[in-house]
Each structure stands twice: as C-alpha cells, then as structure tokens.
C-alpha cells in the first residue's frame, strides 16, 4: 500500500497548495474590490471640484486633498481625467486637463519610466500621450533610446513622442526601415504640419525614405484632403514604381480632384488590373464624365474587382443608372450584364 500512500500524499499536498492559493486569491480579490471602492470614493469627492476648475478657471478654487497612497491617487486621477477628456472637447478645457495631469501625474510617470514594470510603463506612456504631457518629451525619447526590443512599449513610446511633436521621431521614421505602413501612418497622424513639411522636404532632398513611410505619407494626406501636400501626391501618380502610383491614385480618390485628368487615360489600359481599378475609382470620385466610355469598357474586364469598380463608379454620374439599365439589358457580355444588374439593386453598403 506504499504506492497508494505516496499518491494520497501527492493529492493531499496539491490540494493543500491549491487551498492556500485559493485563500490568497480570495484575499487578493477582496483587496482589489476594496481598492476599487476607494478609487471610486476619491473620484466622487474630488471630481466636482476639478470639474469646476476646468469649466470656470477664473473662479477661486482650492485644490482638494488627495489621498496619500500614490497608486490610488494615480488611478483615481487617471480615471477622472480620461472621463473629462470624453466630456470636454474645447481647446482651453483640454489645456486645463493637461495642466492637471502635468501637476499631479508627471512626477509619477517620470519615476515609472525609470523604475516601473513593463505593463506599468506602457500604461504610463498611454496616458502621457492621452494628456499630451509635453514636460515629459525628453524623458519619453530617452526611454525610447534605451529600448532593445520592438514590442508594445517601443511602439507606444514612438506614438507618445510623435504626439508631443518631437522632431527626433522624423529621424526614426527615415532610419527605421522596418516600420509598417500602418504604424508609419499612426505616427504621421500625430504630427503637425510643420513636421510633415520637414518630412516632405527630406523626401525631395534625398531619396532615402523607406517605401512604407512614403505610402503612409501619400495616403494620410489624401484622407485628410491636405491642400498643402496635394501637388506632392499628384506628382507621385507618375512615379516609376507601380505601388507608389497606386497609392497616389488611391489618395487622390479621397481628394476627389485631379488637376490634369488627361493623365488618367493611360491607366484605363494599364497591364496592371489594380491600376485599371483605381482609374475607375478616380474617374468616379472626381466625376470625370469624359471617361464614361472607358468605364463602360471596363465592364467586360477579366478581373472581377475592375468590373465592379467600373459599375460602382459609373453610378456617380447623373445618367449612371440609365447607363447601367442599358448595359443590363443590351450588353453582349454576361459579366457586364451581371454586374450592372447587381449594381442597380444595391443601395449603399460600400463597394458591394
């Protein structure tokens, strides 16, 4: 029976360990619940006072007493200020939220960036970004410089530095060739026009921009319909790289305009289907009625996406529906009839 005894001991031993663990967890849970209640209480006490400060700063007010426990104070203030950010959209009100964050949270974040744990540091970086805490600009970049691994912390550091308009991020964008389009765009979105101007100047001066940065720059300006960079985007439509041309056309569909429409003609007969598709989209987006004929021709394109874009964009014109009816009933091409019919029955719903 020795074997039974051994296993009995193992089972009892593990059960005991688990029960201890359970006790610890339950204790921890209760502590966490208590902490949550405390944070909620602190918030309920100080919020009305701070709210008043944000709404009517000219009135005299007394800074409320905050709890001495650093972590509770931090959590309560963070929750409160994030809540304020959702309510107050006005520039000046936002400025006062930043002011409060700078006063109460900056020293804490500074020390977390130096000595905090991984998740804690990232959370602080999120808030530095949310509250636009300019006083920490140098700390954020210095912290970034010390990072070895490209993980969440790395990305978040760059995002925070970008929103604080740190020009050193521009260098990172040019030097770090592995940044994705999406992430490059994220950074660009956070930068102001001055930094964008700097990026464009560098792109003109030297051909060292990573392609992803170039794509991101082209796309973002289109999405924002940024007049200042329109000539740059349009120029890219004739770039020798196919992908750059496509991105430029996509960007121009957002602008909804093109200064020399005749440049589009060649794309309708491009050997690349993506270019034919974007030619259709651009013709629709800019309402270039001179290209109706070419659009109708694309109804018989061998690629589904091209046919679809052609049909979809033909609808942009006043007589679009009439033309679709005509194609649906008279075209000799089955694909063309199909796509025309489908387009006639759809309403909204994106590209379907």
């Amino acid at each position: 029976m020795r074997m039974v005894q051994t296993f009995l001991w193992i089972v009892m031993g593990l059960l005991a360990v688990q029960l201890i663990l359970l006790a610890i967890l339950i204790f921890g849970k209760q502590k966490a619940l208590k902490r949550q209640r405390k944070i909620a209480w602190v918030k309920s006490q100080v919020m009305p006072i701070y709210r008043k400060f944000i709404e009517t700063p000219e009135q005299k007010w007394l800074e409320p007493q905050l709890p001495s426990n650093k972590s509770i104070r931090q959590a309560a203030l963070e929750e409160m200020l994030i809540g304020f950010q959702e309510t107050y959209k006005d520039q000046e009100e936002r400025g006062r939220i930043t002011e409060l964050a700078e006063r109460h949270l900056a020293p804490r974040y500074k020390s977390i960036l130096k000595n905090g744990g991984w998740a804690e540091r990232i959370n602080s970086l999120y808030f530095i970004e949310d509250f636009r805490m300019a006083s920490l600009k140098e700390d954020v970049f210095a912290h970034f410089k010390g990072l070895q691994k490209q993980d969440d912390e790395y990305w978040q550091c760059l995002r925070a530095a970008a929103i604080l308009q740190d020009p050193k991020v521009v260098d990172v964008l040019f030097e770090q060739k592995t940044l994705s389009i999406g992430f490059s765009k994220e950074l660009l979105m956070r930068m102001d026009e001055e930094l964008h101007q700097r990026i464009m100047a560098r792109m003109f001066m030297k051909d060292d921009a990573p392609e992803n940065l170039l794509y991101a720059f082209i796309m973002l300006n289109g999405e924002r319909k940024s007049e200042r960079f329109f000539p740059f985007v349009e120029k890219m439509m004739t770039d020798e790289r196919k992908e750059v041309r496509i991105k430029a056309m996509k960007s121009l569909t957002h602008y909804g305009k093109i200064s020399e429409p005749q440049k589009l003609s060649a794309f309708f007969i491009s050997i690349f289907w993506e270019e034919r598709m974007y030619a259709a989209k651009l013709a629709g987006a800019c309402k270039l009625s001179d290209f109706k004929e070419q659009l109708i021709h694309l109804f018989t394109d061998p690629v589904w996406w091209v046919r679809f874009s052609a049909a979809d964009n033909l609808q942009e014109f006043e007589d679009g529906n009439a033309l679709l009816h005509e194609i649906a009933s008279t075209s000799e091409d089955a694909y063309a009839r199909d796509v025309a019919r489908h387009m006639l029955t759809k309403k909204g719903g994106g590209n379907r």
Binding site: Q18, G117, E120, D152, I181, R341, H342, T345, G350, R352
Partner: protein
C-alpha cells in the same frame, strides 16, 4: 505482472504525463499572461479604433433553424465597435422562420446576386440587403451544412478578412478590434486569430450585450465554464505561443480570406470544419515555408450559449469528438512528420493522444477502478492509485484552471463565484467527467461509422430575451 496490471500502469503513467503536459503548456504561456495582465486594455485598442487602416471585415453568420436567436445575434453585431464591416447571414435552408424573422426586423430587400465563386457550394437562391443597415446582408441557399454555408458566405463577402461566428454567440463590443490587433500589428503576417470564448449562461444580457457576469444555476452549465477555463487557459495559449495552435473556436475566429481561398475553404465532409480548416492552413503555411502564423489572443471576446440539457450536451460532445477524429484522420500524414515541425511532431500527436484518446483510456480506467474496488478482479492498490491519479488529472487540474483564471482575468465580480467554481471543479472527476468521457467514446465510435449533419443542439435562444437564463 499480468496484462490488466500492465494496462493499469500504462494508463496511470499516461495520465501523469498528460497532466504534466498541461502544466508545461501553461508555463509556456504564463510569462506572457503575467506580463500583460496589468495592461490597460481600453487604451490598447483605442488606436485601432481611430486608425483608418484597420482592415475591413466580413462577418459570416451561418444559420440553420436559428429563429430564436438570430435577430439578437445580428443586433449585437450591428453594435460592434469597428470602423468598417459587413454582416452576412447565411441561411442554410432552414425549415423554421429564420429568414422571415430577419426580413421583418431589419427590413431586408431583395438584391441581385453577383457573387464570385471561389468554392462550389449548395445553390444560392436569393440575397437580401437591409434597408435599415446597408452593411447587413442575408443570403439564402439550399441546405448543405455549416461548412457549405460558410463557404457560400466567403463567396459573397467583399472584404479581405472574414470572421466566422456561430448564430448562438454574441461578441463583446470590442471583439473585432481585439482580434484584429495581432493582424494589424503584424501587418498581415498573422493569417488567422481567435479569442477566448466564454459561456454566457447565467449572465445578464441586455440588447445583445453582456452587462453582468454571473454564474448559471445548473451544475451542468457551471461545469462547462470550468471546462472552458481549462481548455482555453491551459491549452490554447501555450500552443499559440509556439505557433502550433490547431483550434480556433468555431464560435468565433478571424481569417485572412486569400489564405482560406488558397487552401480551398471549409471542408464540407467533416463535422469539425473549424479545426480542419486551421490544420489545412498550417499545412499550407508549412509547405510554402511562409512566415505567416496563427495567433490566439487571451482576451475573452465571444460569449456563447452552452448546452443546458444532458441531451444537447451529449450531442455537442459527440460532434466535437467526431470532428476531431475526422480532422486527425484527414491529415494523418502530418502525424510525426518532421516536415511540419511543431504541428506534426507535437500538436497532432497531442490532439490524437490527449484530446482524442484520453476518453478511451479514462473509461478503461473506470473499469479498472470498479473491478478493483468492488469485485477485486484487479489489485486494490492499483485501483486506488488509479483513482487518486484520476483525481489529480481530472479535478485538481481543473481546479487549478479556475485559480489561474482568477489570477489572470478576475472577470467574476465577487468572491463567491470563484469559490463556487473551485468547489465544482473539485467534483468534476466524480460525475461530469465520467459523462463526458462516455460521450467522447461514443463520438469516436460514430466517427468510424460516419454520419453527417448539422449539430442538433436545441436552442433556447439565451440571447433572444433579455433575461438571465
């Protein structure tokens, strides 16, 4: 030592080894969970919400006789937090009022079909678009099974990624943001993702959203929660870390459409179409020597209705087991094949010996315990050791999963729930596991006989009324 004793020792060693594997898998995932558990989740996905570069997604909802819950599933999908998506309900020849219900609630209007066909599916009979929500579509087709319905959905879909969701599941508001995050962060290197699925039974659901997390009353349902913890927390995370994950739950997963098209879509000849697809994707990734991967995120993103009766639970388990058996059979060439690296050398054998065959070993174990303790056919000592090892493997491991769950997510808002879950977990081996094991053996037998049908789970429609179940 006689044959029975030899088998007994074999099973004992097997269970100890399997238990250790579970623990090792958890330890693989542990550091990541520990590191990330304090991260601010709302801040983390804020970026994706405002970024216009999130990939648009088509959400496919295959439905077969789902009139009880389909409208509220769709309603919850319409409320998702995601910049651009479409919802495609595929009515797979339901015999009830699934379509009528949708047409009525969402004012569907017939549209012409111009779907591409990447795969051959059962005949599409009609397509509708909602007049209230232009991104909601309903397509009707002849009955062909869930996999066929999903394939038809992929054919109809217009976006580069699609999410497959069961008609009886609801997604958290940020589910798409969270599950798409690995894909966006990796610029598309992640080709499929899935997230943790939770059981909604007992929770309070208002307008297709889980507003209060509570435990269900029925022991059968509570036990399934424990079981989900065990499977998700201990198993899947570890697998995902090593890029050898084989299952993305059928209840909710996101896939890159081009990859799915490349591998030929869902297999209509198996009941385990979700797992089979993942295995096929892995296989094609490995054969191409591509650096793409499948990732699993630890956040709970999807709530599903668990079977609440013995009959429906039995049907579900038999179906799962059959699906697993069929998938392993279809891809048997990958077993122990070093060409497929971790998948061939570890995942496939793991699913074969631990997920598929453990039920058989355990049932034999029951026989040994009973014949040892009641009839003295087997040495009592061996029978007792077997019993103790089963308690270790069945109950204590599940109890550990409950503890780990609280340690990582603390989703249940009160102390009482954790205590109840823990106690239930300890009882697992004495009743629930026995039932489940018998059904799994049955499933295995059925898979040898092959019979094909949609799951015959009775739907109460937990999401149709806004009251706790």
């Amino acid at each position: 030592m006689n044959v029975v004793e030899l088998i007994s020792f074999g099973i004992i060693i097997y269970m100890l080894a399997a238990g250790s594997i579970y623990l090792v898998l958890f330890m693989v995932a542990g550091p990541k969970i520990n590191r990330e558990k304090k991260l601010n989740r709302t801040e983390q996905i804020e970026e994706i919400m405002i970024n216009k570069d999130t990939y648009p997604i088509s959400i496919l909802v295959p439905a077969y006789n789902e009139e009880a819950g389909v409208a509220s599933t769709v309603r919850s999908l319409l409320a998702l937090n995601y910049p651009q998506y479409e919802i495609i309900v595929v009515n797979d020849g339901s015999t009830d009022k699934t379509s009528e219900k949708l047409m009525d609630v969402f004012k569907m209007k017939r549209i012409e079909l111009a779907a591409r066909s990447y795969f051959k599916t059962g005949k599409l009979t009609a397509a509708y678009q909602s007049q209230l929500h232009p991104n909601l579509y309903l397509i009707e087709k002849e009955n062909g099974g869930k996999a066929d319905a999903l394939n038809a959905g992929v054919n109809f879909s217009q976006y580069p990624y699609f999410a497959a969701i069961d008609g009886d599941s609801i997604l958290e508001k940020d589910a798409l943001l969270k599950t798409m995050k690995p894909i966006i962060d990796s610029s598309g290197r992640v080709t499929a993702t899935g997230g943790t699925v939770r059981i909604a039974n007992g929770c309070k659901i208002v307008k297709g959203e889980v507003t209060e997390i509570k435990l269900p009353k029925r022991p059968l349902e509570v036990m399934q929660i424990v079981e989900y913890f065990r499977a998700f927390l201990i198993g899947r995370l570890g697998f995902s870390r090593a890029n050898i994950l084989l299952i993305i739950s059928g209840a909710f997963g996101v896939f890159e459409k081009s990859r799915v098209i490349k591998v030929g879509g869902y297999n209509t000849k198996t009941v385990g179409e979700d797992m089979e697809l993942i295995v096929r994707i892995h296989r094609s990734i490995k054969e191409e020597k591509s650096n793409q991967r499948i990732e699993y995120i630890q956040d709970p993103v999807c709530w599903t209705e668990a079977p609440s009766t013995i009959a429906s639970l039995r049907a579900q388990r038999i179906r799962w087991q059959r699906g697993l058996a069929e998938t392993i059979w279809i891809h048997r060439k990958m077993l122990f094949n070093p060409k497929y690296k971790g998948i061939g050398m570890f995942s496939m054998p793991y699913y074969l010996f631990i997920e598929l065959l453990s039920a058989v070993f355990e049932v034999i174990g029951y026989g040994i315990i009973i014949s040892g303790l009641l009839f003295s056919f087997v040495d009592t000592e061996i029978a007792l050791v077997m019993l103790l090892v089963m308690i270790l493997y069945g109950s204590l491991l599940s109890a550990l999963a409950v503890l780990l769950e609280e340690w990582t997510y603390h989703k249940y808002p009160d102390v009482k729930s954790i205590f109840i879950l823990y106690i239930y977990a300890l009882t697992e081996i004495f009743w629930y596991r026995i039932l489940a094991n018998f059904w799994r053996v049955q499933g295995l037998v059925y898979s040898l006989r092959k019979k094909h049908a949609w799951g015959d789970m009775e739907r109460k429609g937990v999401f149709s009324d806004d009251t706790p179940t």
